[in-house]
Symmetry: C2
Subunit: 505 residues, 2 copies
């Protein structure tokens, strides 16, 4: 018996080792081929690739492919300068200085306007061209004193955070019982008599951001229609350490009575759900001194790396505004900084592309893309001639994977060749889930654009919360993202051809 066991064990071991050795050899061969592909030195391999691309990309000429490949040494230079070189750590340090100095930068706040002034100075100090701001009218919502306590079934503080554009309660707050539902469908089944005069708490399961956030944006409107006096919603996050997540909400046009709305922690939401399911009466005292003030003139912040010719430009962007809680290092300090630092890095490397590269730090994205909308309106008359390509980062600046793209097939073929150059940054993945909220104003109309594709699995842990801090940002990742934006923007701006577009108006 034992002899048998040893025999089998040794036989198995020998076979597996042999197999693994062969796989290892096989993989090494693959790697060499990959390296050759990237550097474009093996004719045989090159022609294979070209064949593949031609299948889908008939319009892509071998000349253009070769032209793009020729940028590989330059991408190496850009990557080396920041990831291993003397500019390493620069983006993180600059972002830390800005966020430490101004903290949260909410639309309509003094700290956002001060941060805009500071960024103009920084961009000028960096020697960038045409540094200026362009006005944008933005909402001005102010968070006041916010407080909530549970009175029955037991006294306890319920931590809340008002949602952007929420009205306040009456002075002294309101006292009301709570109705708890897990979905809009469940709410639909409730009678008006059940809801009238109550606070409605929505406790949807996390079903991804775009689905779950509907509860945040619609809770007040939905609850108000059946006579609720206020709405609460679980914080929109897949993971919680009792963190509160704010965000925008919108009263729909048919709402007659605007009611206050706030987020509670996932922990408290589920506690109240359990109490409600047990038949316990839940009474809250809710006080919110939040107010919508008059619109405010804020500014988009703009700097350029002047090309040999002015237009059409490549835009690299992120938004400078954030929510008031946390310091907006992730949303979207990181995005704004890799965008403008990409220009700073190219400037330091004395690189001058054919077309101008323009960094735009959008204002008031959080309350509804107000900066981008104003910019779009202003530039619309000459947009076809003005813009070549749009780039944005607004879903985190964690370890880069590649770029997300939206545009026509011709542009995609060129873009894919450019993306291959990003191998020194380990960021060659092509993704079609384009995530650039500000630039979507152009990209959804047929301008080609790209957004950062990064390892952002934990993005919503920190999103719109006091946890959005410099701890979330990693210096190495920020360097790589800056280099990725610099390299991609430079190559696209420097190509012999404009990026193809199909514009719908």
């Amino acid at each position: 018996m034992l002899k048998n066991r040893y025999f089998y064990a040794i036989l198995a071991l020998v076979l597996v080792v042999l197999g693994v050795v062969i796989i290892f050899k096989f993989t090494s061969v693959s790697n060499e081929i990959h390296a050759n592909e990237v550097l474009g030195t093996t004719a045989e391999v090159n022609s294979n690739i070209a064949d593949n691309v031609k299948d889908q990309c008939a319009s892509l000429t071998q000349e253009l492919i070769d032209e793009i490949k020729a940028y590989q040494p330059l991408v190496h230079e850009i990557a080396n300068a920041i990831v291993a070189g003397k500019y390493s750590g620069d983006t993180w340090n600059a972002l830390a200085e800005m966020t430490d100095k101004f903290g949260g930068r909410m639309s309509g706040s003094k700290s956002l306007e001060n941060a805009i002034d500071y960024m103009v100075d920084e961009m000028k100090k960096a020697g960038l061209d045409n540094v200026h701001t362009e006005n944008a009218t933005v909402p001005h919502w102010e968070r006041g004193y916010e407080n909530c306590q549970m009175l029955t079934p037991r006294w306890t503080k319920i931590n809340i955070i008002g949602l952007g554009s929420s009205v306040g309660t009456i002075r002294g707050g309101l006292f009301a019982d709570v109705v708890v539902v897990e979905s809009f469908e469940e709410f639909d089944k409730l009678t008006e008599a059940t809801v009238r005069g109550k606070i409605v708490l929505f406790v949807p399961e996390w079903q991804g951001y775009s689905k779950t956030m509907q509860y945040r944006s619609q809770a007040a409107s939905v609850a108000s229609k059946k006579g609720a006096v206020a709405a609460l919603v679980r914080s929109i996050t897949p993971y919680s350490i009792a963190s509160l997540h704010t965000g925008s909400q919108k009263y729909s046009n048919d709402v007659k009575n605007k009611i206050p709305v706030a987020a509670v922690t996932v922990e408290d939401a589920y506690m109240m759900l359990r109490m409600y399911r047990r038949g316990q009466k839940i009474t809250l005292h809710l006080e919110m001194d939040d107010t919508n003030l008059e619109d405010f003139v804020s500014r988009n912040t703009i700097a350029e790396l002047a090309g040999e010719r002015k237009a059409p430009v490549v835009v690299v962007s992120g938004h400078l505004d954030s929510w008031d809680v946390g310091v907006g290092a992730m949303d979207d300090g990181g995005g704004a900084f890799i965008a403008w630092k990409a220009l700073h890095l190219l400037k330091r490397l004395n690189l001058k592309p054919k077309r101008t590269i323009r960094a735009i730090l959008w204002t008031a994205e959080e309350q509804g893309l107000h900066g981008a909308k104003a910019y779009e309106r202003e530039h619309k008359p000459h947009e076809r001639e003005e813009f070549n390509f749009f780039i944005e980062s607004d879903v985190g600046t964690f370890t880069p994977l590649g770029l997300q793209f939206k545009g026509n097939k011709e542009a995609e073929c060129i873009f894919k060749e450019v993306l291959k150059l990003m191998s020194p940054l380990n960021a060659t993945e092509f993704d079609t889930e384009f995530m650039g909220p500000d630039i979507s104003l152009w990209v959804n109309r047929g301008f080609p654009g790209a957004s950062l594709f990064n390892k952002n699995e934990k993005y919503f842990y920190y999103h719109h919360s006091v946890g959005d801090s410099m701890l979330v940002e990693n210096p190495d990742d920020l360097d790589k993202n800056t280099a990725l934006f610099a390299a991609a923007a430079y190559v696209i701006a420097d190509l012999s051809v404009d990026m193809p577009k199909d514009i719908k108006d």
Copy 2:
């Protein structure tokens, strides 16, 4: 070239598959043997095992080994009843009801005393024996209004949480500049002139709990000796979403001037460290209305599953008190509930062990094991005859892995045989890092004891914070832990022999 690659790939694949098939066959054989071992039906295998054990465990007789093995069907029954059976989910639901009802249960608070009364009722309703409480004098520290704002270099709220036993500030708070250090060593190098009149902020790196928490417990004493007016410390956690973690602190006996001390978030701690390193002047306004009131008589909560004879008993325990923030579902509601629910489960299964099993829900563990200390003093005169074995859970009730043990070699040999029975719960791992703070009062003096060994990698994410909620607890894991405590306590209480001990006084 290509042909070569395919040949290697196919050869490798064939060899690996062959190897894996053989390993699989070999493993199946092993599993059968393992099952036989556990059930004790293969004489040949049994004698091998006995030989192994005898090497280290000469005192362990084959009769005792066989006696322990005979409990395997019973452990199966216990596991089935709770994990798959009609009591499934019971521990989680009961814990949710208690924590929803009372919230945080701090030493000296009304909510702790009410929770104790409630537990007495629950234990009586469960039909347990000898349900009663035993008095323990405990500290009564109260958290008052706590507030901190940074005045320079910019105004911002700094979230703080006072540490247990901290004194308050003068009314209206204190205004002082901040000195930031990363370690006690760095603090030692500062002159008294640098520190006098300042607030000292300690920002140690996370180096594991036992090392990092020294900063929490000693910050005030260390800073006070050089004339600081208050101390702050980064929250003691390896991961943060801007969470505040409280905990106990102690003024050392030679401290002449007790100063207030609080934790700040890791995020704010590092922000202030960066500001300080840049040479920026940091001024804070710190107000804490925390007070130490007169000692208070609280109670340990006790219930028994009466055995055929009263003594020596097997103790299963956790502490019922918690900090005031969060609801203490993890620390240590989970521990307390798997302990008493183990007795409840055995009772429902109509199991009556030879020795009595005693559940103890300690009071006032958090402020320094006060409940356990009082109990130890009271029971000292007859402790040798009274106690057979101690079990505790106080480092989370996540997925169980096994049990941690401390005791003499003879007891360890018996314990390891008992642990093997826990295979239906996937919890057979033996670990020597014993973690039972309350029962360590006995175990460190030579009584044998065990603590829950569980997958608690995220324990300190929630520890002593508002994030300590029912979201951290998983119904399946709680069931398994209850079953593990029930099975281990029952077998040890039912053995023909007492657990060996070497008591030092």
